[in-house]
């Protein structure tokens, strides 16, 4: 048993932290949140060149071939920024879907350019009639020779508006799992993308209007990708959790610092037990998310059945990030809601990412479904 990080992992974390201090510190991020795209070229370049985008992609496809735990260390550090950009959407999620569902040829075609940051890909699964999971996929293409024709909408697609390629989940049969995955070039005629405003981060709406896609662009077989997609989600979800745990760590550290700096009634506010209570609850949520995640990562890295562990980690990461932000806001009071302060960078994410890859009720339900598999 050894619950510490390895030397390599500590070094990697340091690299991310140094980058953040220089090119993605809080002041820069506060500026960036006002820009349409939400992230900078510096961020994307560093994430690509330093290998964070492609780190979970195997080396033979141009990636870093990192294990789950090591990847999580980097994404936790990014989440602590919180560093914005399509690193997770493209390098981790889309990368995993292609890796699990694609042919050897497709892997060679897409993965190296995803890893290098030359292209951005993202998974387009959810739809206006929202429901997480394959059952919610209702976009049914028509067929025209060796082409599919798409008409319809994908909604809440993270980073869709900056993507070069979309992995579009389509309905190709009536069974619950009868879905297929189609690589769609966003430059194809009839594809349009719009970033969604609101309490959102990088959610977008993708509209398909008579979009013609060669059937050769299918990832895997028609109606035969469910297992591969499940695997990809199982592998990508904990990395998203790590990003969220990092965010929780960020708002925790801000709260601790503020408890020391802010003086009211002649004392630092951290001496008031009401304030202490907020931070105690915050760190309990944070550590619950952190340690369930750590165990799930270890299970993945050692080839054990990690399904329940990942559902547990995602449940607590979503609930925990949200609660961590709420408690940090209670500590910061008015100061925390000023956009110039930086706390709301996290708050926005805690809401936006709450349901990404399934909300806590979805993941609790999966645990309930898997009760008998728990040893």
């Amino acid at each position: 048993m050894d619950l510490s990080l390895s030397e390599t992992q500590l070094m990697l974390r340091k690299t991310v932290e140094d980058f953040i201090a220089r090119d993605a510190n809080r002041d820069k991020l506060i500026e960036l949140q006002q820009t349409p795209r939400g992230y900078s070229d510096e961020i994307w370049r560093a994430a690509s060149e330093l290998g964070w985008v492609g780190m979970m992609i195997p080396e033979q496809y141009g990636g870093g071939g990192s294990d789950f735990s090591t990847t999580a260390v980097v994404y936790e550090a990014l989440g602590k920024g919180p560093v914005p950009g399509p690193m997770f959407s493209s390098g981790i999620l889309a990368g995993q879907v292609i890796l699990q569902a694609g042919s050897e040829e497709q892997k060679k075609q897409f993965l190296p350019s995803i890893a290098s940051g030359d292209i951005v890909a993202t998974l387009a699964m959810t739809e206006p009639d929202y429901q997480w999971g394959p059952a919610g996929v209702r976009l049914r293409p028509t067929e025209s020779g060796d082409q599919y024709v798409l008409n319809g909408t994908k909604l809440f697609v993270y980073d869709g508006h900056v993507a070069d390629w979309l992995i579009v989940a389509i309905r190709t049969g009536d069974g619950a799992d009868d879905i297929s995955l189609l690589m769609v070039d966003t430059k194809a005629a009839g594809v349009s993308a719009r970033k969604l405003d609101g309490f959102t981060t990088s959610e977008s709406e993708i509209t398909f209007s008579n979009v013609k896609v060669p059937k050769a662009n299918l990832l895997g077989k028609v109606n035969g990708v469910k297992a591969a997609l499940d695997r990809a989600l199982l592998y990508a979800t904990p990395i998203l959790c790590a990003y969220k745990v990092g965010g929780g760590q960020g708002v925790f550290e801000m709260a601790v610092q503020y408890s020391r700096d802010r003086v009211q009634f002649g004392r630092p506010i951290g001496r008031f037990q009401f304030v202490q209570n907020h931070i105690v609850q915050l760190v309990n949520h944070l550590d619950a998310a952190r340690w369930t995640l750590n165990e799930a990562l270890w299970k993945l890295d050692t080839g054990q059945d990690a399904r329940v562990g990942v559902h547990l980690a995602k449940t607590l990461a979503s609930e925990g990030y949200r609660k961590a932000c709420d408690y940090s806001h209670e500590v910061h009071a008015g100061t925390g809601i000023m956009r110039s302060y930086g706390l709301t960078l996290y708050t926005r994410q805690s809401r936006s990412l709450y349901a990404a890859l399934g909300d806590p009720r979805y993941h609790r339900k999966q645990i309930a479904n898997l009760i008998e598999t728990i040893e």
Binding site: G136, D197, G198, H329, G334
Partner: protein, 405 residues
Amino acid sequence: MDFKPTYTPEQEAFRKEVRSWLEAHVPNVEGDRDSDENYAKYRQLGRDLGARGWLRPTVSKDYGGGGLNFEQSVILYEEMDQYGLGLPPYYDSGGWLGGASILVWGTEEQKQRFLPPIFKGEVVTWQLLTAPEAGSDLAGTKTDAIRDGDDYVINGTKIYVGGSHKPDMLWTFTRTDPTGPRHKNTSWFMIPTDTPGVTIVPMDLLGDGGEGIGASVKNTVYFEDARVSAKNLVGGVNNGWQVATTHLELEHGGGGSIGRNKWFERAVQWSKTEKRNGRPLIEDAEARDRLADIFVLTEVSRLFGLRNYWMNRTHQKMSYEGSQSSYYRKLTGLDITTNLQELFGPASLINGGGFDFSEGTLDAYHRSAITALHPGGTADVQKVLMARRMGLGRDEAEAAGKTVE
């Protein structure tokens, strides 16, 4: 107990009068209720109501109120609520709160001078409480008002003030004896907005763009050698903290509210039109569970507000109830928005475009549930007040602040 007034025929007649008057006068607006155009319409409604004495129905006619009784005020609130409006029908909590303090603490001359314009809806007033250095610790303000001849000269900064449309008057409390003993060194002032040396600058906040009429923005107000007549000092020199107890009591929820259960009603309505897998959301068992959870949370808030409204208007002795209502609403706001997000999914976060079924109101609520934790006394401050009023660890429970209405 009786949760609804039993109305006499006379009162029912009054309701008819109110209803038809409102039908004729409540503006029909589209889009953002806080746009310049729409705000102006609500502002006019305030003036029209004020002219009839309906803006502050139970306040004496001598000061611009309606001189109406408790049941009549309930009728007015209920009928306004049918339009999703309160009294006043635009953002004037400054007038409501400051007016109460003047009623309790002002001289007769000050009441005559300040109150009728406020209660008749002619003047809009902002309250200035929070300062960068003094948030929960209001009495720690470093805004100073120093006597100079017949005037006081004010310097300092207040934050989280007002809304998106400039008011006519401001009120604040300031140190008039900066080195004097705490709670005995402040005084309370009414200040015309156009006083030289007063500057208003909008802030950039998470909660910007909420639903409140006139309330989608908050401001920083700077005082730089702003001169105010000593006649505008209300409640006596260095007695500002006492004057503040009145409006703080009301702001902390002691005034109560009459209203329907807005978020639950909206959620049910949207659940009938929003669909999942081709079926209305309301037919889904999980969705109904969420609606039930929202109902439970919102009903308690509604009843706490109603209880306080009755206690306040019928002069019951109040204890912790004001802050309880405020605290409960603040904290459950976070739970309600979580339930709403789980119920409606990510679409509940979107603002604008075809899939924004709530027309941005849910986005605004998600954000305002967070920002609402702090104004009018943070959630923690409400707990401090409740503890004092219950007399926890004390021989005697602290009495509630004196209010009039």
